[in-house]
């Protein structure tokens, strides 16, 4: 317990003795984590919008005349990617047509016998899964025709894939940058106390005792940077949300407090963990080298 108190005291000494460097690291970590958070939020929203559109996409499979939909229904139900399937009988289809025609509904009677076939309305989880279902249906002898928004599906899949890859790359880059910045700051702090650490080792201080203030220093910088980034992101996102609501009301972006709280908590944890890991690595390297017998 006493050791922890000394470590806390030394952590604050480190923070304030090199306050300029600490502030610079905090701001750099905040900027990098802001970019990281912004990219992640952007990717999450693209994914959210795409999934909302995908969820509304319907595949319509029409059977041959006089053939019911049992065979196609069995095929579709065996697929795990299908979220819902509805069987539309010729009678239901005719009712639908009548409803659509409105005042001209009388024209349907001119057809005589109901010419409409059995059909299925299928919904899947993701746009890129549509092609597989369509392929499976097309080979069935009972299926006459399959209709779906082919081009839209392809575009949505591409947007989803590209935005995922780009944001993944940016996330990795920003994470590496923030790690390097914190790692180097701690290294400078260690070198400024090199003599002190060497004396500590010679008089019998353990590696944990020596490392703890540096590790806490790194964690505080990482967590502090994350906190600043969260505040910045919160303000940017709220403004963006209000602007989109007033100008692009049809665009459905994430506004769930629970999702956003989870995301910001994750960003905070990422900042603190990065700080902890980098400072531990820097101080561990130094102490291990110093303890190595000559």
């Amino acid at each position: 317990m006493a050791s922890f108190r000394y470590a806390l005291r030394d952590t604050f000494r480190l923070l304030f003795r090199h306050w300029g460097l600490s502030l610079l690291t905090l701001l750099t970590a905040a900027s990098v984590l802001y970019i990281l958070g912004f990219t992640a939020l952007f990717a999450m929203n693209i994914r959210y919008i795409v999934s909302r559109i995908e969820g509304g996409l319907v595949i319509q499979a029409y059977m041959k005349r006089g053939v019911n939909a049992d065979e196609a229904l069995a095929t579709v139900k065996s697929s795990p990617v299908v979220t819902s399937v509805r069987v539309v009988s010729p009678e239901d289809a005719l009712e639908k047509l009548r409803a659509k025609l409105g005042n001209q509904a009388q024209a349907v009677t001119l057809l005589g016998e109901n010419p409409l076939p059995w059909s299925l309305e299928i919904q899947v989880q993701r746009a890129d899964q549509i092609t597989y279902i369509v392929r499976d249906l097309m080979v069935l002898p009972s299926v006459e025709e399959v209709l779906y928004a082919g081009k839209l599906v392809e575009r949505l899949s591409t947007i989803s894939r590209v935005s995922g890859t780009v944001s993944g790359v940016i996330l990795m880059l920003t994470l590496i940058i923030s790690m390097l910045v914190i790692f180097n700051t701690i290294r400078i702090a260690i070198y400024s106390r090199k003599e002190e650490i060497e004396v500590m080792m010679l008089i019998g201080a353990t590696k944990t005792y020596i490392s703890l203030p540096f590790v806490l220093h790194g964690m505080i910088l990482g967590a502090g940077g994350a906190l600043c980034a969260i505040l910045g992101l919160w303000s940017t996102y709220t403004s963006a949300l209000n602007a989109i609501r007033s100008t692009l009301a049809f665009l459905d972006i994430i506004n769930d407090r629970w999702i956003l709280t989870q995301f910001f908590s994750f960003l905070f944890a990422a900042g603190a963990t990065t700080g902890w890991m980098c400072s531990w690595l820097a101080v561990h390297r130094f102490t291990s080298m110093s303890l190595r017998p000559r």
Binding site: G204, P293, R294
Partner: protein, 231 residues
């Protein structure tokens, strides 16, 4: 705590032989002077005992511990049993006398009250009570040496190593330092002092070991710096 060196050789890269085939036994509670010219291997021997260095050949045992086999986890605990006064003091310039001494006790995880009490006790013992809030640059060479001694004795070590503790000090201060080291020894601590100071070695006669070019040249109980007839 006793110290045993058996066939110890230390070679620094590429081929500087600092110590060669040294056999030495120091019993628990003994006082020993290490004398010899510059480069004779005195500091290397002390650093081998404090386990800053490991021997190229041979074995060193301190108490039950074989220093070659000591792990990096056990090393700090071993070093707490060895108080070292470094040739260049190694005091931290931004800490005052109390903080410099307390620093050792804090590193051992002792509670603040105990740290403060013990630090004040040893500072009083070395006669620096009135200067306890000054920082090393504000102290004289002799006072800095005393802070280094206070720091080394703060955790009551079993072995006390002092490298040139009276180097560059006037005679009166040197004698005070010597008396301090003898009082530490009187409390049962094994003391090894590397020195050039002929006057003190002859005035406070103890066991004397002389090194010459890394080899043990002389080992005498109550020896004089100069062999009789050499003067």
């Amino acid at each position: 705590m006793d110290i045993r060196l058996s066939g110890v050789t230390k070679v620094f890269e590429p081929d500087i032989v600092a110590l060669e085939d040294v056999y030495l036994s120091v019993d628990s509670g003994e006082f020993l002077y290490l004398v010899g010219t510059t480069g004779s291997g005195k500091t290397t021997l002390l650093r081998l005992i404090s386990r800053e260095y490991v021997p190229t050949r041979g074995q060193i045992t301190v108490g039950e511990r074989n220093l070659r086999k000591i792990s990096s986890v056990d090393l700090p605990y071993y070093r707490r049993e060895v108080g070292v006064v470094f040739q260049d003091f190694k005091l931290l310039p931004n800490l005052n006398v109390v903080e410099n001494v307390a620093f050792v006790l804090e590193a051992m995880g002792l509670p603040p009250k105990l740290v403060e009490g013990r630090a004040n006790e040893v500072i009083d013992q070395v006669g620096l009570w009135r200067r306890r809030f000054l920082k090393p640059p504000q102290l004289s060479g002799g006072e800095q040496q005393r802070v280094a001694i206070a720091r080394a004795m703060a955790n009551s070590p079993s072995i006390f190593l002092a490298d040139e503790p009276t180097g560059n000090l006037d005679l009166r201060t040197s004698e005070e330092i010597m008396r301090l080291l003898l009082s530490i020894n009187a409390a049962g601590t094994t003391v090894l002092v590397a020195t050039h100071d002929q006057y003190l070695v002859d005035a406070y006669r103890q066991r004397l070991v002389e090194l010459h070019n890394g080899r043990l040249k002389r080992d005498e109980r109550r020896g004089r710096y100069f062999v009789d007839g050499e003067l």
